[in-house]
Every structure is written in structure tokens, then in C-alpha cells.
Amino acid sequence: VAETGARGQGFGLSTGGGAGSGSTLDVANFCCPDYLVQMIDRIRSNWVQHPELAGSNVVKFTIHRDGTISDILLETSSGYQNLDLSSQRALFVTKTLNPLPAQFPNPTLTVHLNFQYQR
């Protein structure tokens, strides 16, 4: 998995949390971080960024075992309609990711993807 495009995506640093924060988990416990790297690579290629605006939103979606994406939902708004639409559109355009890895036993994986727009 060397140089898979992981550089700069920083997925690991967004993790953490603790009881009471209500939404977080530690990616260290996730079997397959390279799957997340590939996922972000795919979504990034379909993401229209807005260099004129800074903000952050969270889009929740479900990945099925065959890689299809469903239940795309804006979970936390940035306060800018443009950015919120852009994040959701990146998922709708991506449509399908790689199938879930064999080491991941669950039928689906729900992702809370934090889109960070920087000027």
C-alpha cells in the first residue's frame, strides 16, 4: 500500500473521542485503514472544492459489502449551502467504492465523513 495517495489525507488525525462525545471511535481499532485511504482517494476525485469559502460539514453514508453507497445524509451543516451540497454531491457521484475488505466482518460500514474546506 505504499504511496496509495494517502499523503495529506490525514484520516487518522480526525479520530479519537471518548465516552460521552457521542459519535467517535478510534480508527486504531478498525481492521482496514488502507480501505479508508482508498475510499477517500475515490471521493476526493469527485469532490468539487470551494477555495473561496472555509468551513466544515459532516456527511454520513453507508457502504455495503459490494461497495455500493446508500443513505447519504448531511449530518452536520457548514452553514453554507454551497459547501453542504458539494459534500453530498461528491458521494452521489462516487456511487460505488471498492467492496468492503474481507477482514471487516460486518455487512455494512457507516462512515461519518468530515469535509474540511480551507481557503
Partner: protein, 459 residues
Amino acid sequence: MTRILRPICLASTAAAFAFVSLSAGPQTPTQPPAPSPQQPSDVITTINSGDGAPPRFAVPDFIALSPDTETAAIAKTIGQVLFDDLNFEREFSMIPRDTYATIPAAKAIADIPFDRWRELGADAVLIGTVQKVGNTVHVEARLFNMKTRQSVFGKGYDGSAGNARVYAHTIANEIFQQQRALKGVALTKLTFDSDRDGERMVGTVENRGVKEIYISDYDGENQRRVTTGRSLNITPRWSPDARSIAYTSYRHGAPNIFISNIYQGTLDELTKGNAENWLPAWSPDGTRIAFSSPRSGNAEIYVVNRDGTNLRQITNNPGIDTTPTWSPSGTQIAFVSDRTGTPQIYVVGADGLDLRKITSESYADRPTWSPAPYNEIAYTSRTGPGNDIKVKDLASGEVRQLTFGEGTNESPAFAPNGRHIAFMSTRSGKAQIFIIARDGKNLKQVTKAGNNYQPDWSK
């Protein structure tokens, strides 16, 4: 919706840590634990706009929780080595350590001055502790996200007090895996041959210098001699499990291939007699060794099983065929042949079929096949009075040059993740081992004593 929270937070330090034992020597590096069979249904992750600048990391000295000088020294060493390890792969932007002086050193993990680290521009800070427990030490390492002030990585290790560098290398590899899905090389080793001992062999080859096989950590530390033959021992190659080294030795007169099982202290003679056998290369599964021999009249490529059985001749040509290297799948062998006039790199199936020439240099030598997923062969190319390192992408046919005429540059060997290449260069005067990134940047000298040649990088 099921959510499984696995917090690693300050209040639950001990419970959240995975404990890993480090054994007494570097020969048994600790592997990361297998993933838990129980997996979360939800993950949170981030995608950033812009050019994807790498996160800025700080790695201060670890905190010595015991008051003795040995613990303080271990804490300092781990911090420095970990910084260097994390810097090596260029996945993170490392904040120079001399800028940390303005930040008060924490006496415990609970004392971390998050605001001060944030002022320094850190996105993440790696904080660790070292505590003496009887004759052993307990090391803990945690990576904190400076924005959220939460831990994104936390592990504990118990082991010998003499293993400071191994703790750092282990932590670095685990952080590369967790943060970048990258197989780090911090626990890997180099081998090379060296004339540093300055001894001269006696006997049939007049004034030939003695060369011995050496190993070192990937960063050049812990250089140790493997052979003591006081003869010519050259072209060492790691076995895939990094527990044995095959090499060419003149210890009995004619060159033959020996295998040193370095952790068992035993020696196998793979080839014997006066036939002359050189340049061993392990198959990726470790079951076979390719080598070159003129036993049939002129030098050809042969393959033999690890136990010396089932010898097969792979090439059969009036030209001189030498320096085999295996493809990552073990189905092809690249080698050097002068069958068309000058030495060039060829590829042939491990069954001896499907030969093709892949270079058109004035002189090409010492091919080394990259690990997957790259499909490249690095080699030595004569570019002027000296040689340079070039890399050929076998899919695109593109050739890129990594060195440009500073001394002579020869004998490339890929790191096991394919991101760096070790090679010999005379750019600093004597022949020394250097490491360079696959893009030609990040050059680093790893040997200084004597002349050192023919590096190979453990898997």
C-alpha cells in the same frame, strides 16, 4: 444503529493500552497485534481541501517517570529516534526538535500544554513515558490531535532497558500503519560487504583485501560484522524472513555461495567445489536461490533449492549472464548479459522461457526488482566516467535517473515498501552506503568506516 466506542482517553490510560512485549534483541522485532475480530460499525474520518499538506508532527523527548539517569537517557533516545523514523518516509511535516525548547516539558501525560503546542503549529504531538519496572522498562506512547486534544493512538510496551531504539522503531511502524496505511521500514536492516577491518588475506589471490559481511539497522545504527572468515565475503542478500544472509565467499579458494543463519549462528554451504558460484538471490518465498556460475563453460544463471537440491540452468547463451534478481511474484528473473555486445538487463521466466531485453544503455549492471505494487527494476548505468542509479518502470517503459554523476553510484537495493533505495556511492570519497528516496530526494549516508559495497535491504 450500533456504535462501538473504543475511547483512548486520559482518564482510562491503562485500560485502553495494548501491551506488547519487546524481547531482548532486535532479532525478534515485535509485530503489531492482529486486528480485533469485533469491528466497529461506524467510522469517523476527514477529507481536507487544498493540496493535502501533510499534518505537522512534533515528537518531544519521552517523559522519564523514574528519577534515574538510565531512564532519562532511554526517554531521550526514544524521542529522537522516533522523530527520525517518522521523518524518514516524509508522510508528516516534522516540526524541528530545537523549536520545542520554548514549551515547558510535561512531567506526565496529564500535563501536556496543548495550547503551546498549537501555537507552535503542531497538528499532532507524540507524547510518551518511560518507567523503570524492576529490571525492565514500561514505555507508553500516545499521539494527540491538537485540535481535539484527544488521543488517536495509544500503546504500551514492556521490555529490556537496552532496547530504546527498538521501542522507537516499533512505535514508528505502528503509527505509519495506523495513520497512513503504510508499511514502515523502521525495524528493517541493511547488509553490505566492507573492508573496514583492514585485514589482508593470504594465499592465492595476491594482496586482495579482506571483506566481511556486515549488518546494520536501516538508519545505519548498530553496525555488526557477520562473517569472520578473513577472506573475501561479498554480495550479501537477506533471506525473505531476514534471518539468514546468502553471500559469495572465497574462504575455501574458489568462490562459492554460503548462507549464514545469523540468529542461530550456523553456516550452510549452498554450493561447493571449484566450479565458481557467485551472486546469490533469494526467491520471494525463500525456497530457491538464483546465482551465476561458469560451471558449463561460461557464466549462466542457475536456480537451486534452499537445501542445495534441484539445480536448474535458466540461461544458455555464449554471452556472460550474471547478477540475477527475482520478480516479486517469483515467476521471472532479471539478470545482466553481454550477449548483444555490452552488458544490458534482461528478463526471463523462472522456467527459462520468454526472454526479453529491457535496457539499451551503454552499460547496465546490478538489477534489483522492486517490491509490489511497484513494478520497476533499479540498476547501475554507466553515464560517464562513473555510474549512476536508474529505475525502469516495466509497465510504462519510462526510465528515471536518481543520481547524477556525483562519484560513482552502483548496486541499488529497494526498501521492502519500495519507497527508498540503498546503493553504494563514492560521492563522499570512499565507497559508502547511501539511501535515497524513489523520487531522488532524501539522500542519507549510512556508513562511514572503510569502504562498503553491495547493500541489500531486509524485507
